[in-house]
Amino acid sequence: MQSQSVEITPQLVAEHGLKPDEYDRILKLIGRAPTLTELGIFSAMWNEHCSYKSSRLHLRKLPTKAPWVIQGPGENAGVIDIGDGQACVFKMESHNHPSFIEPYQGAATGVGGILRDVFTMGARPIACLNLLRFGAPEHAKTRHLVSGVVAGIGGYGNSFGVPTVGGSVNFHTRYDGNILVNAMAVGLAKSDEIFYAKATGIGRPIVYLGSKTGRDGIHGATMASASFEADAEEKRPTVQVGDPFSEKLLLEACLEIMAKGCVIAIQDMGAAGLTSSAVEMGAKGGLGIELDLDKVPCREEGMSAYEMMLSESQERMLMVLDPAKEAEAEAIFIKWGLDFAIIGKTTDTKRFVIKHKGKIEADLPIMELGDEAPLYDRPHVPTPKKPVIDASSVTPPKSNADALVHLLGTPDLCSKRWVWEQYDHLILGNSVQQPGGDAGVIRIGDGPKGLALTTDVTQRYCEADPVEGGKQAVAEAWRNITASGALPLALTDNLNFGNPEKPEYMGQFVGCLEGIGEAARALDFPIVSGNVSLYNETQGRGILPTPSIGGVGVIADVNKSASVAFKKAGQSIILIGETKGWLGQSVYLRDLCGREEGAPPPVDLAAERRNGDFVRKLIESSRVDASHDLSDGGLAVAFAEMAMAGKVGAKLTMDLGATPHAILFGEDQARYLLTATANEAQKILADAKAAGVPAAIVGTTGGDTIDLPGEKSVAIERLIRSHEDWLPNYMAGRDASSAA
């Protein structure tokens, strides 16, 4: 008996986020009008979030392979081989729209979702990171959003029991109505014990695990695929509620049944819940799936098939079980106090059949639900090139030293301690390098091997020149990992952009992807997982293009990893890389001159690679005792950050030429600052020359002040005050202007 009680009107189709031509495609595909449940299923599978219909065409161009890549994009997370029979499993994902509507739960469930993606593959999560973008500090909602998002990320990760070891927080008015919350999780598994979503075998039980299904989050993925209008507040009911306690139990129970060999295929219920997890398992295995919704554990009574299929209740998993191990698996779930229900079976029909209360609520071709999703080649126009800004045209500050103190206390460059102290970054006892440096470094088990992890993107570069900005995002993540002494191996990307139906925003997407691909190829830094978040705009205005890059590298011996802190007095400071004084799109130009202008610094990928490989070797052979890559704020800011981290002063002695502010604050790429003994520094310069790496001794450590050429001394304490005070003052609603 086929269920058909609701008439499918054009209005109902539109409410499901489906365009008229997409609905025609459905009619052609199934040869009849869909049931309401079927319409819901199509809406869930064919929205932007699940189908990547605007982005697929371009994502295909990215490099995703390398000898060490075990699993690239297309599974729950990417997997790379890190040697010794170990694999690193990782991914980054956005929860932007829910976090704007309900910051605590939106951010918390973002963390929960990405953790589930990682442990679904059989990996125990060992670290989290995030990348957050908020509106202007002056915007009325910003403080509330920062407070809620940070508490939500901490609330989930801390309880789950994974250290949050790194992140990035920036502010800009273009995020006023659409913040970004990108969460990354990293797990560890045995390289020959990875679990996948692909179902195999006919007539095998499909098991529902975890929390019960409620009416929360229905159409969450559809919401994530639309722009915000003025009614954002009304969408609060579509935000899911997280329960890290259940997730922790789910983790332990899943890893236990995996270890016992009970699992044939497993998929977490994330966006589009039961629908997308079941379809993916069947489609990947070329099998049909039949579900009996009467068996689904529900939190509320009277839930319809439509609601069950579209619920995004959290902390749930779907699994194809080895029938011989059913009792064993069930006992493990009962021990952990979690629901375990057989709700269906695999079939050989390649159809997705949903039964509820004796009726067939859906009967759809399973392969076509994914394969036949619309694919668009959206029109796109390249972003016009911006003029290169000549340093001599940029007003110098009255005092470079005062300018430095000021910059260290700006929203983007200030210390984010207020944020990361709310995250447990010490649990598991392996955090060798804690937040605040270039990369988080964690030891794997008892070591000595470790991972270096980072998240980064410079969205103002991407806005000014998407191709160079895309390159720079990858290069900076690669550089962060390199500066810690690790070898960058692979990345995950979280592509946050505006409305793809507008050619200029689609052009940003295409441009950034071109740059990301080019840099990833040049640096042997393939993309193994990722997420696309489009329609990030409010009332017609797009966010800054923000392709977040999450990088993972391996270090053979964590004892040798380098931190940014100056270690002692009397060390020579070496600048690696070429400094021309590029001020276009710099924070100096933006925050001190009020100009968001010009072309961003060009990225020379050959120089990145050459300089980075040289630096990494120096760290591996313990020839340098501090290392920091140069990014926002350039040489002076990096110099000050090293002094503040070590509470050791330094004197900069390099010749600053005709435009000192450009040399001090320019943001030329492919640069690092290192320290070594005076003797060793001379040898390093000789080696650099032989390797064709620009290098110079630019200063000496010592004292408790920073001394820039021709400037008064600045006490480190004053730098620290400016750097540390802004965010706590801002969050407490105190006037921070007096702090600097």
Binding site: G154, S159, P244, F245, K248, W336, Y423, L426, I427, G429
Partner: protein, 228 residues
């Protein structure tokens, strides 16, 4: 020294505790599931690890404090056996009636994870004999609800009986409002039972046992215990 670590649903620092005990004793402590009703014969030390047992629902430690295994833990303590509760373990000890007082939300209502100086108030207990009295040690804190409070009389008794184990302080050992991360009464970071055989503390000595990861100031507590 035979140590066991109790595992509740939602415990998450049990691995860190196991590592610290293994480093000190040379053998892996046994993990005991919360639903057990007896401790293994010959148990010297019961460690209740950090985490969010039962999701911190109801009140931190409230449900775990009434778990089946806790009767055995109470009996062990009554016999003079050693019990160490760290972070959520401290909250469980208070809820389970093994220690007085309660851990309220931090003064500024935020979770806080950072390195923190502690002053060792006495060095003549099974837990602290490897330290010296008044010594300042640096350990980690990571909690949202570590603000120790008790009624005036209880505080007076704890202070009078020398049952304060550690206080939050600065590098020089000074204890005041500015050195107090969570608003605890008198800067209390840990307290002993009347017989000094039960210690509850919010900070994490088990995360400070390795020079590469923050330092080794926590190792003294575990060294003290193996000598016990």
């Amino acid at each position: 020294m035979k140590a066991v670590v109790v595992l509740f649903p939602g415990s998450n620092r049990e691995g860190d505790a196991v590592r610290a005990l293994e480093m000190a004793t040379g053998k892996k402590p046994q993990i005991i599931w919360h639903a057990e009703t007896e401790l293994p014969a010959g148990t010297d030390l019961v460690l209740l690890p950090g985490g969010f047992s039962y999701g911190d629902y109801l009140r931190c430690g409230a449900i775990a404090g009434r778990a089946a295994i806790m009767d055995a833990v109470r009996a062990h303590a009554a016999r003079g056996g050693l019990v160490l509760g760290i972070c959520n373990g401290f909250q469980i000890l208070c809820e389970g009636g093994l220690l007085p007082g309660v851990l309220m939300r931090n003064r500024d209502l935020r979770f806080i994870c950072k390195m923190q100086n502690l002053r060792v108030e006495r060095a003549d207990t099974a837990f602290t004999r490897a330290y010296s009295k008044g010594q300042v040690i640096k350990v980690a804190i990571a909690h949202g609800e570590g603000n120790y409070e008790a009624d005036e009389e209880t505080i007076k008794r704890l202070e009078g009986d020398g049952r304060v184990a550690f206080r939050y302080c600065d590098e020089s050992g000074l204890v005041n409002d500015a050195t107090n991360p969570n608003g605890s009464t008198n800067g209390i970071a840990g307290i002993y039972s009347q017989k000094m055989n039960v210690l509850g503390m919010m900070p994490h000595p088990e995360n400070l046992i390795d020079p590469l990861v923050g330092g080794i100031d926590g190792a003294g507590l575990f060294k003290s215990l193996i000598a016990a």
